[in-house]
């Protein structure tokens, strides 16, 4: 807009406000007399001015003066410069809100990161809490023997029960739990662990358990005498908790729970071993749910077709090996461990971390001399295996025989099948080159197989 237009606008503004000199005012009125449209505009502008001037005058609320008074008094009390007090007055709350917002964001971000790195339901560390597992003491073992005698069962042999847990997360796709020890005569019926699918149903109706880290204080304080019954239990997942609970609540002799993608193959391999070693065995029925196991079914009634059918239906298969020499338990276990176990969609680093932690606790256990002569509480598969080996020492237990219940639990239908194989080798065994079934031989072994736990894997 040109300066001439600005001048005209300025004169018109002053005209409306009545602040023009008389000469200029007359000039404008003369113009407006010949331009009624422009005159109407000026009348409208004057009217607008009057409307604004006619607005009610609002009074300041008392809060303004009170706030200022408080600010001044605060400055006086704190002997701070009044300017400083003023500068911190209204902005204080903003600073508080800003700090609070930052904290909320930080906490939220931390929670998000934790949630991402620790998915719900897959605790990163798999060492079980030991407090929930009540060790079977010598007295309890004796009572079990007494009960067996009272019920006509064969006298119970000293038993050593070991529950070995694989890393948490591995159990999502593959549950493996080994329990080896002395048998209680013919007490084989109902001594079966629940299958993984049945457990899933059972657990679905239960509230999620709380996870606790293993601590040394939770380890069994008493050290049972050699040969006395003891149970070592590593609960680290809902299914594992239930499995352990089932094992403990039933007078099972020796049990092995194996989850495998190929039940028939695993069963065939075990039975082959049993037959070659002249070990009698029989088939039994697995429980159809996580609660009440069915009665045993003798081996002759279980045809190969029936077993195949059960495998196809996703049901467990059970073999009960009778009077297994204690020193053979380790070999059977190793046979089982040769089977592929399914590791679900679990981050390999999580597995490695779990293994490291388990090794750490194993070291701690050793430090406390809890693993000597199979009387302690092994915390790792290695230690557990050492315990098994100790239990089968020729000098003391070579003549012992145990019943071994082996449960072949099919892989849950929802479990992924593209996971690597987990098959630990017990202690004192030469390490073998890790390999993955159905995988190219040139494929390098994953890092998590090379853990500090010293646990090696074989095909």
């Amino acid at each position: 807009m040109s300066s001439e237009s600005d001048n005209i606008e300025a004169k018109l503004a002053a005209y409306i406000d009545g602040q023009l000199p008389e000469s200029e005012r007359a000039e404008i009125e003369k113009y407006l007399a010949n331009n009624p449209q422009q005159a109407q505009v000026l009348r409208d502008l004057t009217h607008g001015r009057e409307l604004l001037a006619g607005l009610e005058k609002a009074s300041a609320p008392p809060e303004i003066m009170e706030a200022m008074q408080a600010s001044l008094e605060r400055a006086q009390l704190l002997e701070r410069p009044v300017e400083e007090e003023a500068s911190t007055g209204r902005g204080r709350w903003r600073q508080v809100f800003a700090i609070a917002a930052i904290l909320v964001l930080a906490v939220g971000l931390a929670g998000l990161v934790y949630w991402v790195t620790h998915p719900p339901g897959i605790p990163k560390y798999s060492v079980a809490e030991m407090s929930a597992a009540k060790p079977i003491t010598t007295e309890e073992s004796a009572k079990t023997t007494e009960d067996a005698v009272n019920t006509g069962a064969a006298p119970a042999a000293p038993s050593t029960s070991i529950v070995i847990a694989a890393p948490e997360g591995a159990f999502d796709g593959a549950e493996r739990m080994l329990k080896a020890g002395g048998a209680t005569g013919g007490a084989t019926g109902g001594a079966l662990a629940a299958s993984a699918p049945a457990l899933a149903e059972t657990l679905a109706a239960q509230p999620p358990p709380s996870y606790e880290r293993l601590s040394l204080s939770q380890l069994p304080a008493n050290t049972p005498a050699p040969g006395a019954a003891q149970t070592l239990q590593f609960q680290n997942s809902p299914s594992q908790n239930a499995l352990t609970q089932n094992l403990l609540t039933q007078s099972a002799p020796t049990q092995t729970v194996l989850v495998t993608r190929d039940v028939n193959r695993a069963r065939a391999k075990v039975t082959e071993y049993l037959a070659s070693n002249n070990i009698a065995y029989e088939f039994a029925a697995a429980p159809q749910n996580g609660n009440a196991p069915q009665q045993n079914v003798n081996a002759p009634q279980q045809t190969a077709e029936l077993l195949e059918s059960r495998a196809q239906r996703g049901q467990n298969q059970v073999i009960i090996a009778r009077r297994v020499p204690a020193d053979k338990v380790n070999e059977i276990t190793r046979t089982l461990q040769g089977r592929p176990l399914i590791v679900s969609a679990l981050d390999q680093e999580q597995v490695a971390g779990a293994m490291e932690k388990k090794a750490y606790f194993a070291d701690k256990v050793r430090d406390r001399q809890l693993t000597t002569q199979s009387t302690s509480a092994p915390a790792t598969q290695e230690v557990a295996a050492a315990a098994v080996g100790a239990a089968s020492q020729p000098a003391t237990e070579s003549t012992q025989e145990v019943d071994l219940t082996i449960v072949f639990s099919p892989e849950p239908a929802t479990a992924p099948v593209d996971a690597p194989v987990e098959a630990p080798v017990l202690a004192n065994e030469p390490a073998k080159v890790p390999a993955i079934p159905n995988e190219p031989a040139t494929r390098p072994a994953p890092n998590w197989l090379k853990t500090k736990a010293g646990i090696q894997y074989e095909k």
Binding site: Q19, R49, G54, L55
Partner: protein, 199 residues
Amino acid sequence: MTSVGGAHLQAEQLIRVREGDRAAYGQVVLDCQNRLFNAMLRMVGDRETARELTQETFLRGLANLNTFQGKSSAYTWLFRIGMNLAIGQLRKDKRRKTFSIDATADDDRNSQAAGLVDRVTASATDAVEKKERDRKVMEALNRVDAEYRAILVMRDVEGMEYAQISEVLELPLGTVKSRLFRARLALRQELMEYMKGSA
């Protein structure tokens, strides 16, 4: 409008505050708060926001006393701070569509005596018409750009002199007048329907 003597007194008070007399600032607040609050209210149209802006204006004035040189009145000096705050607030809140006329109602409540007199002396129809007219005017004012609104408030609502407006806006006198004329045109545009209806 601030009288010459009052403006001089306020300037002296601000100088006293700057020299350490904190109580003097309380008197400045007392003298200026009603006009400043009314101007803020007409600028933003919301009592709570106007209160915050007024309070902030006084606090900032207190925090920046060292910049007050005593050449202008305390009111003008504080008004400049307040207007800058209000314009900034309006720029941040351009999406504001509603407009409160609570000021009228609250003033009535706060001043029961005045309201009683109004009810006695004015007819109910006049009161309703005035309230409706004020609402229309405030709605129209709310739709005007912040810079135009500021100069309308200073001149037509607060009745400030051109020189004071020039000092607050830091604009030449001629520019103040021409901008005032354009601001009035803008308001007329917004009030057009109301003016046609009331004509």
